[in-house]
Symmetry: C2
Subunit: 134 residues, 2 copies
């Protein structure tokens, strides 16, 4: 199944601009095929790749790293160990990020709790105006 850029945009949730950008920036595993008129023709493989890309992006992988990964794929199967390493590194980063967010969440939740109680018990007890605590 071969798709035009618009259809790929629909299917991946990316904009056509972004799709062109990704190709220009070498984030595809190779230049996208073209039809007689020079229009991009995406394969299912391309779409699958883009699907992964969006997951990578959504998890904070910078374009540069996606490019690196794409390069490895392009360079063939002897780069698989490297690809694995790259993915594992990213995986760790995501895990770390989640941990960080959880820490932040605790802080936020504690503030929410305090404000919650405070507001509940009527803003009568005005503990906290400016110089005191956020």
């Amino acid at each position: 199944m071969e798709l035009g850029i618009g259809q790929v945009a629909e299917r991946t949730g990316m904009s056509v601009h972004a799709l062109r950008l990704y190709e220009r920036e070498g984030l595809m595993t190779g230049p996208v095929r073209r039809d007689a008129g020079g229009r991009r023709v995406y394969t299912e493989w391309d779409v699958e790749w883009l699907h992964y890309c969006t997951k990578f992006r959504a998890s904070g992988m910078p374009l540069a790293k996606i490019r690196k990964f794409a390069d490895l794929v392009r360079r063939g199967p002897e780069t698989e160990a490297e690809r694995l390493e790259l993915l594992r590194e990213h995986q760790e980063q995501v895990v770390a990020r989640i941990a960080e967010l959880n820490e932040c969440l605790e802080v936020i939740a504690s503030k929410v709790r305090v404000y919650g109680e405070h507001v509940a018990r009527g803003s009568a007890a005005e503990l906290w105006s400016h110089p005191a605590a956020p």
Copy 2:
């Protein structure tokens, strides 16, 4: 305890540039006090506030939202219900973000697993070169 900008930078991990930026952009709960020579003098309250700010930032809150929160604090205790709402909203966003990251993590982990097995069993079994799967 009153601190100069450099000391605050050390203590919060922010750069002095960023500290000045935060003030310019109205992210402090008020203009920072100055000494005779016009230099910033931060109070412990300021530092605590900045501490919260860094947590907010680290959890993805945009500066604009921090500014909104700072405004509410500045406007006094009658804004506490609003502050609570703002924080709760952010809290939800962080929770959602964590969920998203976890989804991504599954995808990544599955790729890692596949690559892992593949690499382990010696790159002999060359399933995956280009047109096949990332």
